[in-house]
Subunit: 261 residues, 2 copies
DNA sequence: TAGTGGTCTAGACCACTTC
DNA sequence: AAGTGGTCTAGACCACTAA
């Protein structure tokens, strides 16, 4: 009848006990967990087994370990709320036309979101990109890959794709990092006469690849959210396709819409 | 200088090799991986180490293991696309008024989404619920918890909260499973004169709790997406607050909106 | 019954952090 | 130097699956 093991596996039991301590607040965020050797002795198991218990808690995202230091209750990340407002015109529209020689914006733009790297290359469009931009598969498109950071820690990647004719000669496809600067990509497109009007976003979540774990400095048990974004003009023509990979624990996405008929 | 280990750890090496086989398509979805004992022998390591390598691949969501049978390359799930259309009026509006005596809808409604269980109870509102519904913290609200299934496998949970005055006496708070039936919750609210008009959704991703892992039959390395939804009438009054937990790999969320000013 | 994954003990060495 | 997490070997037993 019962599908459950009669007695909890030792590693599970240890994890359950620690989780209870955490949930009850007796081990608050930032608190140090007992050393592996203590846990092993207390439960009469080997260090391997105690270590496995910690592994379970890491996978759940409840605990982080610092090699050589200890295991700690994970502290909640400051969460950034991503709503349609982040694309608002007043955030990127520059009043003076073609003012992109002025890099290094001084005020709040850098604080809000400064990117670390910008890699631009001309590549062959894959299926998704081709479909989104309305070009043939294998056609040349510009790829602009960035890693976004906040307070020095990477938060997400953002890779944009453009039709070459749309962006040739613009700061968007200039190798120099950060040169898109003031106003960013949308302003540059606007300067080209390509006015962003509508955005479609597709969101999905998965576990990171090993590369992403390194790049985004993800701790064990942290999923990523993959965002696919298509930006269109008022006439429906797509002018940018972008793929982002976000550390899940640092964001919440927010959307509001009317119920359709 | 180099921060990388000179030689890859054995468990990492095995995982990397297997991942390469999978990525290259030499181990296609559904293919059986070599038995642990074979891997151990081939690499000159113990079964423990080979097992750890499998664990890494499981965490990445690339591999699933079936106890007693073997380890297999994970097959991609059929993905369901969730757009605003799923809330469209024509999907739930019933032409004949107050037709909720007719349970067990016979045609497509059940195929699309049939729920397994419905637990209704009167509980004290927590902070989120109170804020969303505009009631005091601790005030009584109806909680209606469901587990949604598709083709017999659970896909997500959905727990709705209502102001008691809004739903008292309606099928929504009837214990009998499935009785909301035809048209579902929005139709019942409409029958009460509470017409859903606008929806706000907040999405975030995280690793599942152990309970959720059992409930949604999640395999190792599968994250969940938590959806918070507030449904409002045209005058802005909230009539439902709902929280859902989705198996991440089975869904993609899709939103389209105009760029704000 | 044979094959296979899951977990555990016992003991060892290493890598990193902290003092 | 002492403390702590990470990984590994060697060997064992158990639980589940499939023929």
């Amino acid at each position: 009848m019962s599908n459950e093991p009669r007695i909890s596996l030792p590693s599970r039991q240890i994890a359950d006990d620690l989780r209870a301590e955490i949930d009850a607040g007796r081990l608050p965020p930032g608190a140090k967990l007992p050393p592996l050797r203590d846990l092993a002795e207390r439960y009469g198991v080997t260090r391997n087994t105690a270590n496995k218990a910690l592994g379970l808690l890491q996978m759940e995202g409840l605990v982080v370990t610092r090699h050589g230091s200890g295991a700690y209750v994970r502290e909640p990340h400051p969460i950034r709320r991503l709503g349609p407002d982040r694309y608002a015109r007043h955030r990127w529209q520059v009043t003076t036309v073609t003012a992109h020689a002025d890099d290094r914006p001084n005020s709040e733009t850098t604080q809000q979101q400064g990117y670390q790297t910008q890699e631009v290359s001309l590549i062959a469009a894959d299926g998704h990109t081709a479909a989104a931009l309305g070009v043939d598969i294998g056609a040349s498109v510009y790829e602009r890959a960035r890693v976004m950071t906040r307070d020095g820690i990477p938060t997400h990647t953002m890779t944009s794709y453009y039709r070459p004719a749309d962006v040739e000669g613009t700061p968007l496809v200039d190798q120099s990092p950060g040169i898109a600067g003031r106003g960013g990509g949308f302003q540059v497109l606007t300067d080209q006469g390509l006015i962003p009007h509508e955005i479609s976003e597709d969101l999905s979540a998965r576990m990171p690849t090993t590369e992403e774990t390194l790049l985004l400095e993800l701790s064990a048990g942290e999923p990523v959210v993959e965002v696919h974004r298509v930006t269109r003009m008022a006439d429906g023509r797509a002018i940018e396709y972008a793929r982002g990979v976000h550390a899940a624990s640092r964001f919440v996405w927010s959307y509001t819409f009317d119920i359709p008929d």
